[in-house]
């Protein structure tokens, strides 16, 4: 085992201090060290998008970053978005438009959409499909996800 590295990281506005091995992926750190299992892990090579979180506001693959690299930075995960009895607008739209089936892809898609909808308040279908094209969903066929994004955009504008 290589030396432990002292890490201080802010996740969903809470600061955590941990000593970890440098090889620990951010995705595994969130899930195993912080018990934030909302961030999912599908492929570990950047293809499926299930592990998408926000790093200083930018969407990233948490499976393609070492947790030590997040030292001093801000991470936002799906747990920071809403809670079961107080859903975020985008979560509510996914509920209403049936954008979720098994839910495995959902956290990654939601985290991808947060900055996307901030920068694109009124996206058309093509822009929506482009935005979620880095997130694989094996259940929905994407149709209801696209509908949910339109609904979310509409709710956020009004």
């Amino acid at each position: 085992m290589s030396d432990l590295y002292q890490l201080s990281i802010t996740v969903n506005d809470t600061e955590y201090q941990r000593a970890i091995e440098p090889r620990i992926l951010l995705s595994d750190f969130l899930r195993h060290d912080l018990d934030l299992t909302g961030t999912h892990v599908g492929c570990e090579h950047g293809v499926c998008g299930a592990c998408t979180v926000l790093f200083d506001g930018h969407p990233i693959r948490s499976c393609l970053m070492f947790a030590v690299q997040a030292d001093g930075h801000h991470i936002q995960t799906v747990e920071g978005l809403g809670s079961p009895d107080n859903l975020h607008v985008i979560q509510k739209a996914f509920w209403d438009a049936h954008g979720v089936q098994c839910g495995f892809c959902t956290p990654g898609i939601l985290m991808t959409l947060v900055p996307f909808l901030e920068n694109n308040p009124d996206p058309d279908e093509a822009a929506i499909r482009q935005a979620i094209s880095g997130n694989l969903c094996r259940c929905t066929g994407y149709q209801n996800i696209a509908e949910a994004v339109k609904l979310a955009a509409e709710s956020m504008r009004t």
Partner: protein, 291 residues
């Protein structure tokens, strides 16, 4: 699928990073955006004993104009910065057009210009584009600095002139001459996927609308960026009529490439795509050059 253990260093200056690379030699690898290196480590195809993280070296992240009308990019400039930069759009529109084709937004948040060049994936857009634009790279080690033209830097599949103790620190691109058009065309399963075939074309016209200089560079058809010398020869000094551009595209497909078959496409299909895409790219570049 977890990366093997390594020693981690987090320098904040280029000098510090270079001294770590000098100390650890072949055991060490620089870590840029990690969007190619970390998947490779997760698969255990690479097991570097030491990682020298470049992400906190702020002096390597910039996009600056140079006096001659060209520009300079620091190696750690991220794809998403390049993608939205007005100076890139103005001075290097070919790079600007390439950015949305490079992976998805989540990968462009981290991936870097220098990482893409140093990694030298024969399918990387920036590799072909750098050659087509006549780019140059600055390489630095503890013992000094050297420069290399993009056309000489790439040695083959994931192979470049870089020595283990060297860092790529900067890419520079000259101003495009007047009456120069450009185009980047590719076929990929989805827009951001690695292309089955891609072509970058840069075409300069003289005052009589004849081709003065043409650079056609392919991605995903060989061990590195492949320059279409024969096709360029067909166009040299000639007016690029539709017939001539078609002839150049056919020459490229016949004489300039030797593609291989893989699970993504057969060699014959790649050859077909080269013919179609080269013609389309030349036509668009010509239209833009005339403006």
């Amino acid at each position: 699928m977890k990366p093997p253990p390594f020693e981690y260093y987090n320098p904040t200056t280029v000098d510090e990073a270079l001294s770590l690379l000098a100390e650890h030699g072949y055991d060490a690898k620089p870590l840029a955006g990690g969007q190619s290196l970390i998947p490779i480590m997760n698969f255990r195809l690479a097991q570097p004993a030491v990682l020298v993280d470049l992400n906190n070296i702020s002096e390597l992240s910039y996009i600056q104009p140079d006096e001659g009308g060209g520009l300079r990019l620091g190696a750690m400039t991220r794809h998403h910065q390049v993608e939205h930069d007005p100076l890139i759009a103005e001075r290097a529109p070919l790079i600007f057009e390439a950015m949305p084709m490079i992976a998805t937004s989540q990968i462009r948040s981290r991936g870097t210009f220098g990482g893409s060049i140093a990694h030298a994936d024969p399918s990387a857009e920036l590799v072909a584009v750098s050659v087509a634009l006549g780019g140059r790279f600055r390489l630095r080690s503890q013992s000094g600095e050297r420069e290399a033209a993009a056309s000489e830097f790439f040695l083959g599949m994931f192979a470049t002139l870089l020595e283990p103790q060297e860092l790529l620190v900067e890419a520079t691109f000259p101003a495009m001459p007047a009456r120069t058009g450009w185009a980047l065309m590719e076929v990929a399963r989805r827009p951001h996927d690695f292309a089955l075939v891609g072509v970058a074309a840069v075409l300069s016209l003289d005052d009589q609308d004849r081709c003065q200089d043409t650079r056609i560079v392919f991605l995903s058809v060989g061990d590195g960026p492949v320059t279409a010398h024969h096709a360029a020869e067909v166009l040299r000094g000639q007016a690029p009529t539709p017939e001539l551009m078609r002839a150049a595209a056919e020459t490229a497909a016949a004489d300039d490439i030797d593609p291989s078959s893989d699970i993504h496409a057969s060699a014959a299909y790649r050859r077909h795509l080269v013919k179609v895409l080269t013609r389309q790219a030349l036509e668009l570049a010509f239209e833009r050059a005339k403006l």
